[in-house]
Amino acid sequence: MQSDWPSSKKRLSEPFISNESIACIWNAFLCSSIMFWRRMRGAKDDEGNIFQFSFCFSILLVNIIFCYVLSNFRHKEKLQVALFLKYGFVTSTLVYIVSILFGAPLLKDWDQTISFSMLLSALILPSVAACGKLGNFFNFSCLNLMGTNELFTCFGAWLGAFVIPLDWDCSWQVWPEPVAVGAVLGCGLSSLLKLMRPAMTITWAGYKMYWPTNFFVHERHV
């Protein structure tokens, strides 16, 4: 298996810390604070579901600001605000449609579905922007380049849906809370894994293998 890890020469010319790593740290921080906040709120009142419209919208905004700052101060490629707004709108709509297709109620709880779709697009945004994929995101073929972070986020959301039908009668089993929690956990987990990647590199039979990145697909590094 050919590795695409940059050679040592190239590595020297890189900045001390890459944009990707910063995005990972940010993601891990954001996800853990969301989970912490959820925990605190859940202890206070039984309602528990923090993934309301305003909350998700503010997370999307925060992430957009973060990515704007990141890309414009540390990146050669300057990205316009309009691009971020377009990204937020299009991705949220896409996720909204997909969640309807996957069985979210069509008319009932539409606000919940919208908040969930905004949360998901917010969670994906930092890694997309940091990998430099945002510029050509609207090119369809880019879905093939889904990175670890995006995959884990979607996969976490997918797994989260499996607790909804269980008859435990818990307040957190109602759409979209478990799905949102799954997405947040998946995002946080994958960020941590990506940060630990150098430590987890395995050399085997002369090949370098990165886990978990090339477990799925090769990630394109910029």
């Binding site: 297709l101 093939n144 997918w158 009668d169 697909v217």
Partner: protein, 909 residues
């Protein structure tokens, strides 16, 4: 080559059938209901004099025996929290006014089956093969119908299950909802509120009060939770209130219908579940004389006892024996105060009369039952000799006995020993009859269940082996042996289990070992193949079974979309087809039906309802008409574009449309025309003629070897078959079926030319299930589409013996239509871009059938495993067993479709 296909499929299907048969033999024990009624004048069951004017039955659901027992241990901490909460029982027992028994229920210990047991005196199994599945109303002779037909009155309050069973028996009823297991108070409060006023009224003879609080507390918290004593104390105060208002002519029976396990559940046959408590009390009693010998009675014994006490005939299919302690004639003691010795004699003659009635009634029932159904012969002869002996003894008594004058003077009565002898003989007969019937009806046969599962597992391995395509020439004789062995083992399955196992499994093992070296694991394993296994595992959880339509839909969507993430390049055509497939699948969601367990959260769409039962506003009708139109146009376009279309199917569709229009017109004008019967009949005639024509063209009018021709004929046949399903489903659900067809077409287009898609066959299987749910079905007994049974048949011609065949066919067809459709259209999908017959194309086809069968077989295995695993689960007869039955129906229709299209394939090629 040709023979090989047939061999493979017949071997697999025979093996599966063998396993399933074994499993069902152990799991589903059936009993046939007999709808005859006992009557006062039929010579057998004429009655004794009634002993009480009024009887109060207080059923405390899940009242275990040890809840009633007083624990007088000095060490307080060793007393369980649920004991000693009913002090009134202990007090009455001390005063010699009451008796306490262990009340042994028969499994299944679910409330519905137990109520049937308590009222009919028989041993209900899961399937009581009666004339009518549709309503829960009890058709067998029972104590309530006997009471009402004798002119006595019944008042009822409590659990509404009683009203489902006996909708017409009560003069006054106060039912309360029993479904919400977490609601521990509603029913009990209702009973408390109505019990005292009703007791004060003079017009009842039997008062039934059924409290659910203890049961629900058990389900919610378990018996060792602090809520349990509170609930039991409530029951205590209720009993105290009743006791303080009773007169000597009244009898109070407090009983549990079943017990509960340590976790608070019930349904199975562990000692904790079957040992309920039974407490009887009457103010006029003194049990000093009546030295009660038994401590434990059977639940079925209640029915004959009540009959004797109230002086009514014993219900026809009762199997219980009279509880002698309760029919003890204390009123004699109260009135005449005879000596102790004397009263025993009178009591014994009274006992012997009651037992004689009981014996004759049970013998009549056994005779009737064994006349039409299988009854073990040896046991029957044994019982017959026992019965003859008892009758003989009784008749000898009769000659020496003088009947009525005996009450005051004991000297003329039969001698003690003779009475004793008869009583013993009768009791032996009664116990043995009960035991034999119980062994026949009410026990899981674990050996048989595990044999069935073993055979099924091995056949799954064999099936997986066939999937990897490993063909060795010398293996052909093994296949022949396998088929013969499986067939023989089905024939001999009643003889010996070792023989069956050997016959059916030896060839399987030989085959597996022989092909072992050829297996390549990488070929075997693709991620998507996990789908049926995941579904099979999900059947062990009741909530996943309840929500199965949504699970299936979710998985299907996942299988449509997830592969797109792992593709390097995707064509636009792929995207469009996947979006369309995803959309049609999502639209099917609107036709899903809710089952009972989902009700507070799930709301059925009004799209389901047929136009002639709509009572909505105009816009609902408008929405209905427009969805129907849109789906029809979509359907037409799809077929025009992608499938060869035959004009005569349009004519058939016209008949169906006319029928629906006529139906709604009749509904709107509130009239009835003969066209409602004759239009469907016209349809059936055209259908049969077209069907025969299609088969004829298959067999004789073929251009040999041309695949497109074969595909065209198959799709014609599929459309023809689906028109029948559409007619049966009615106009409300027709779009659901059309969506399933559209799904099929899109699916076949999506995988045209895609050879190596792991998700293809799992997705196909999921879509077949989705088609089932989108047809407005669900896997519960309450959702069986009974309304389809009489489309085009008038109720009046259901007289002949064959009258049941068509309705059964219609109901099963409209239920499992989706499986038949998908099994038949495997060629359309797998041959969509093959032009000529060759070895490869045939491989593709056989592979498709094998995959489809494998998908359903794995899920069937999951259902069987879940049912066997949860045979003591609370919901087994409500969720797991119905799921298994539906799955069996699917399996039958799947194999039917596969065999049919395989046969047509062989004939054409």
């Amino acid at each position: 080559m040709k023979k090989r296909n047939l061999l493979v499929f017949s071997w697999l299907i025979l093996l599966y059938a063998n396993g399933v048969m074994y499993f069902l033999q152990g799991f589903l024990l059936t009993r046939r209901e007999i709808h005859l009624k006992s009557a006062a004048f039929d010579g057998v069951s004429c009655c004794l004099e009634s002993k009480y004017e009024k009887i109060i039955i207080l059923i405390i659901d899940a009242l275990r025996y040890d809840f009633l027992v007083y624990n007088n241990s000095t060490n307080k901490s060793s007393i369980p929290i649920y004991q000693n909460n009913l002090p009134v029982v202990e007090k009455l027992l001390k005063d010699n006014h009451g008796v306490l028994y262990q009340f042994v229920a028969d499994p299944p210990t679910s409330t519905m089956q137990r109520l049937k047991g308590i009222t009919t005196g028989s041993l209900p199994t899961f399937i009581d093969v009666g004339s009518n599945f549709a309503s829960d109303e009890l058709k067998e002779d029972n104590i309530l119908s006997q009471i009402t037909s004798s002119g006595l009155n019944i008042t009822f309050m409590g659990d509404d299950t009683w009203l489902q069973l006996f909708p017409r028996s009560f003069q006054r009823a106060f039912p309360f909802p029993s479904f919400d297991v977490w609601d521990i108070h509603t029913v009990d409060r209702g009973v408390e509120q109505h019990l005292m006023p009703e007791m004060m009224k003079p017009d009842w003879n039997l008062l039934i009060a059924h409290c659910l609080g203890v049961d629900h507390t058990g389900h919610r918290y378990g018996p060792e939770h602090p809520v349990m004593p509170l609930k039991l104390k409530e029951m205590n105060s209720l009993i105290e209130k009743i006791v303080s208002n009773m007169n000597p002519q009244t009898l109070l029976l407090v009983m549990g219908d079943h017990g509960m396990t340590r976790s608070g559940d019930h349904g199975g046959d562990s000692p904790d579940e079957v040992n309920a408590g039974f407490f009887a009390y009457s103010p006029g009693w003194n049990i000093k004389f009546n030295t009660s010998r038994t401590t434990s009675i059977n639940q079925v014994d209640l029915v004959p006892t009540l009959s004797v006490l109230l002086g009514i005939p014993i219900p026809y299919s009762n199997l219980g024996s009279v509880i002698l302690d309760l029919v003890f004639p204390e009123q004699l003691w109260r009135e005449t105060r005879p000596s102790e010795e004397h009263i025993m004699k009178i009591a014994q003659s009274y006992f012997s009369e009651a037992l004689y009635l009981n014996t004759k009634q049970i013998w009549r029932y056994l005779e009737t039952y064994s006349r039409d159904s299988s009854f073990p012969k040896k046991e029957f002869e044994h019982l017959s000799s026992q019965f003859d002996r008892a009758v003989h003894l009784f008749e000898r008594l009769q000659m020496k006995q003088c009947s009525n004058s005996c009450t005051s003077d004991s000297s003329c009565c039969a001698p003690d020993e003779k009475l004793e002898e008869f009583i013993q003989a009768a009791q032996i007969f009664l116990t043995e009859a009960k035991e034999i019937c119980r062994s026949m009806w009410a026990r899981f046969d674990l050996t048989s269940i595990s044999i069935g599962l073993t055979i099924f597992t091995c056949s799954l391995f064999l099936h997986a082996n066939f999937l990897i395509e490993s063909e060795l020439n010398w293996m052909k004789p093994v296949k022949y042996f396998g088929i013969i062995g499986a067939f023989l083992s089905i024939l001999v399955h009643s003889w010996s289990s070792v023989l069956t196992l050997g016959l059916s499994l030896t060839p399987v093992f030989v085959y597996l070992v022989g092909t072992m070296r050829k297996i390549r694991l990488q070929q075997l394993f693709k991620f998507a193949y996990l789908a049926p296994f995941v579904m099979a595992a999900s059947y062990t959880s009741n909530s996943f079974v309840v929500e199965e339509p949504y699970v299936v839909h979710y998985l299907a969507q996942s299988f449509i979309w997830i592969p797109m993430f792992f593709r390097r390049q995707t064509k636009n055509r792929q995207w469009i087809l996947r979006i369309a497939l995803s959309l049609t699948t999502r639209l099917g969601l609107a036709f899903f039906r809710c089952r009972e367990e989902q009700f507070p959260t799930c709301e059925a769409h009004s799209l389901h309802r047929s136009l002639n039962s709509l009572s909505g506003t105009n816009w609902i009708v408008f929405a209905r008409v427009s969805t129907a139109l849109v789906s029809c146009i979509a359907f037409y376009l799809l077929y025009k574009r992608y499938l060869p279309f035959d004009r005569k199917n349009l004519f058939i569709a016209m008949i169906i449309w006319c029928y629906w229009i006529l139906q709604s017109a009749c509904f709107l004008t509130d009239s009835d025309t003969i066209g409602l019967v004759y239009l469907p009949r016209l349809f059936y005639i055209v259908f049969i003629v077209t069907f025969c024509h299609d088969i004829y063209t298959f067999l004789f009018d073929n251009e040999l070897g041309k695949m497109s021709n074969y595909r065209k004929k198959i799709s014609n046949l599929v459309i023809l078959l689906s028109t029948l399903a559409i007619l049966l489903a009615g106009d409300g659900l027709a779009p659901g079926i059309i969506l399933a067809l559209a799904n099929l077409v899109l699916f076949s287009q999506l995988f045209t030319g895609e050879s190596n898609c792991g998700e293809m066959w799992p997705l196909y299987g999921l879509l077949s299930l989705h088609g089932f749910f989108a047809g407005g079905h669900h896997t519960s007994l309450a959702n069986i589409p009974w309304e389809t049974a009489f489309v085009g048949l008038s109720h009046s011609d259901s007289q002949s013996e064959w009258a049941n065949v068509l309705p059964v066919l219609f109901v099963s067809y409209s239920t499992a239509f989706s499986m038949l459709l998908h099994a038949m259209s495997v060629p359309i999908v797998s041959l969509s871009n093959v032009t000529r017959k060759n070895k490869d194309s045939q491989m593709l086809l056989v592979n498709g059938w094998l995959h489809f069968l494998f998908f359903h077989a794995v899920r069937l295995f999951g259902c069987m495993g879940a049912a066997a695993l949860h045979r003591r689960h609370l919901m087994v007869w409500k969720i797991f067993a119905p799921r298994l039955l539906y799955e069996l129906l699917f399996a039958v229709y799947t194999s039917l479709g596969i065999v049919a299209s395989l046969f047509l394939f062989q004939a054409t090629m």
